[in-house]
């Protein structure tokens, strides 16, 4: 989060109401993305993510509020914005009439990149994204993963400042997903600002510097993944697994007696036959590892495992947006 100069993306009090709708698809959203950040927009289907991205990428006109890319007003000067951004959509919109390499060179030509430069850049990107061997084919025979990589290569052809990735690894096999994560980090390391949407909490956690969780057109929270995880009531927990337990209630009482422990709860599922597991909540659970082990040993049982459990982003997400299906 460099924070220097104007932000790469600035959204202020953005409202979008579609003509036939009674509610606002985006309902007063404000956020900023600094240059060089990877920013994640999370939320259930229909939360307003796609509409927000639509406004930022000039295909949706805001009803109220404003959106700026590098200080350029998206609604007032969409042409300048288009030259600065690139979009990788969820579903392939690759030009199926062109050959793979031409998809890249034509894209660059649309953006005024001179011929020599675009030819060289196309070859370089195709090699980097592992598509060099099949650059003279048409995309009909491309797998989902290859199409996704090609769309990313295409996005980079005019050297944009801000990249929008709409669910970049949706439906990809694990290899492609890891490969894409690598590339996303690489592009970011070269200074590209990235805004991505995803349903994949693991992905958001691993890639994003900051995450905004959206629901019903509003941003509920906007923070680093680490800070978001602290939002879960109880925060981090210490899990203690023990074997040879004679009286479960006594062990539980001993654990609860440790000073600073606010709550102890038995974990229902049996991780290993003949063992019992408890979860301890406290302000700073790391301080209670020793006492917890001693409490178990003091009751004549054996410690099999002690681990600090971080709440996952998924738990944060469900906590914020509820469990009901959309």
């Amino acid at each position: 989060m460099t924070g220097m100069g104007t932000p790469a993306i600035a959204v202020r009090n953005l409202v979008k109401r579609y003509s036939k709708s009674k509610t606002n698809a985006v309902d007063g959203v404000s956020f900023e993305v600094s240059r060089g950040e990877i920013f994640g927009l999370l939320g259930p289907n229909g939360a307003g993510k796609t509409t927000t991205i639509g406004v930022l990428t000039t295909s949706i006109v805001p009803t109220e509020g404003s959106a700026h890319i590098y200080d350029v007003d998206v609604a007032r000067d969409p042409i300048s914005v288009k030259q600065r951004i690139a979009v990788v959509p969820q579903q392939s919109n690759l030009d199926r009439s062109l050959k793979v390499r031409e998809i890249l060179t034509f894209h660059a030509a649309y953006h005024g990149v001179p011929r020599k430069q675009r030819e060289a850049l196309a070859d370089k990107l195709l090699d980097e994204l592992g598509l060099g061997e099949r650059k003279n084919e048409k995309v009909n025979r491309y797998s989902g993963g290859m199409a996704q990589r090609l769309m990313i290569a295409r996005a980079l052809m005019h050297e944009p400042d801000v990249l929008f990735l709409d669910e970049p690894t949706n439906n990809l096999d694990p290899q492609s997903r890891l490969f894409l994560w690598e590339r996303i980090r690489e592009m970011n390391a070269r200074g590209l600002t990235i805004l991505l949407t995803t349903h994949d909490m693991d992905e958001a956690d691993k890639l994003c510097n900051r995450i905004a969780v959206m629901d019903h057109g509003k941003i509920l929270v906007n923070d680093t993944p680490a800070e978001l995880k602290k939002m879960i009531p109880g925060g981090t927990a210490l899990e203690v697994r023990a074997s040879g337990v004679r009286a479960a209630e006594k062990v539980e009482a001993a654990l609860a007696a440790i000073s600073g422990v606010t709550k102890v709860e038995p974990v229902a599922e049996e991780a290993e036959p003949g063992t019992l597991t408890w979860r301890l909540y406290a302000e700073a659970v790391n301080n209670h590892i020793g006492p917890a082990a001693q409490a178990v040993l003091g009751e004549g049982a054996e410690v099999r495992d002690l681990s600090v459990k971080q709440p996952s982003l998924e738990e944060v997400f469900i906590f914020l947006t509820g469990r009901h299906l959309r």
Partner: protein
């Protein structure tokens, strides 16, 4: 900024030319198959078996030129647009290029006009080949002829733009039947407008079809005087006015619906 937008515009135009050039033979077949048979049956077979007079061919040839150009131009816009706006979204990459949104349909129209002009032009050698001695085209109105060919294609591509932006993918076959068929048969392609005198209501009805004016304009510039008799067509002023209005109205409406489909 304008320079950048112009570069984008010409790159998009170049893309269409490259793609079509690669498919040039299929494109020609598509454009020529129907006129080939129409010319053969109406210009050769019917006169030979005595069901039409020999001069029918030279009255009909301008109609075929108009029809081919208009259809090729329409097809160049309508089908790609219906699919693109419906689900393929291949056009998104062009919409994200640094040019005003309405330049994208403008490019489509310009390119389809080129397509239509080519399709019209190839009818001439084809006509000569099939009609043989029945082929008669006056050459003293060549500039008007060229203008009419281009204008006809332009009319077709702007109609195609409006159709392409309003038809939904699931309606394609129905709309083609509902729009194309009446367009083909009420466009004065197979008969000169003046000959409709006896069917007054029909003569008025066909005036609502832009193809009528295109066919009449081409007849004006192509049909030579026969036995000292000069064919009377619709007035050139009326023709130009009607075709010009059609282009302006169709392009304005088509661009408006295009914009509504891609920017919400």
């Amino acid at each position: 900024m304008n320079k950048l937008a112009l570069k984008a515009f010409f790159a998009i135009l170049r893309r269409d030319i490259v793609v079509t050039w690669r498919e040039f033979i299929p494109f020609l077949l598509q454009a020529l198959m129907q006129p080939l048979f129409i010319l053969f049956i109406f210009g050769k077979v019917l006169p030979n078996i005595g069901l039409a007079s020999g001069s029918f061919a030279s009255l009909m040839l301008p109609g075929i030129v108009a029809l081919s150009g208009m259809i090729a131009a329409m097809q160049g816009v309508t089908l790609p647009l219906v699919l693109d706006l419906g689900f393929a979204r291949e056009i998104d990459d062009r919409l994200l290029s640094p040019l005003p949104v309405w330049w994208v349909p403008l490019e489509k129209v310009l390119f389809a006009t080129m397509r239509g002009t080519v399709a019209s032009s190839v009818i001439f050698p084809l006509g000569r080949l099939i009609l043989g001695s029945g082929y008669a085209v006056r050459t003293d109105r060549l500039p008007i002829l060229i203008g009419m060919v281009v204008l006809t294609a332009l009319v077709g591509s702007t109609i195609g733009l409006l159709m392409g932006t309003t038809i939904k993918p699931e309606q394609i076959s129905l709309m083609f039947t509902l729009i194309f068929t009446p367009l083909l048969f009420t466009g004065c392609t197979y008969y000169p407008w003046g000959a409709l005198n006896h069917i007054r209501w029909f003569q008025i009805l066909v005036l609502f079809n832009p193809l009528t004016y295109a066919a009449e304009g081409l007849r004006y510039s192509m049909v030579p005087p026969m036995n000292g008799f000069v064919l009377t067509t619709l007035g050139l002023n009326w023709i130009l006015l009607a075709l010009g209005m059609s282009v302006v109205v169709m392009f304005a409406l088509g661009t408006r619906t295009f914009y509504k489909r891609v920017v919400t």
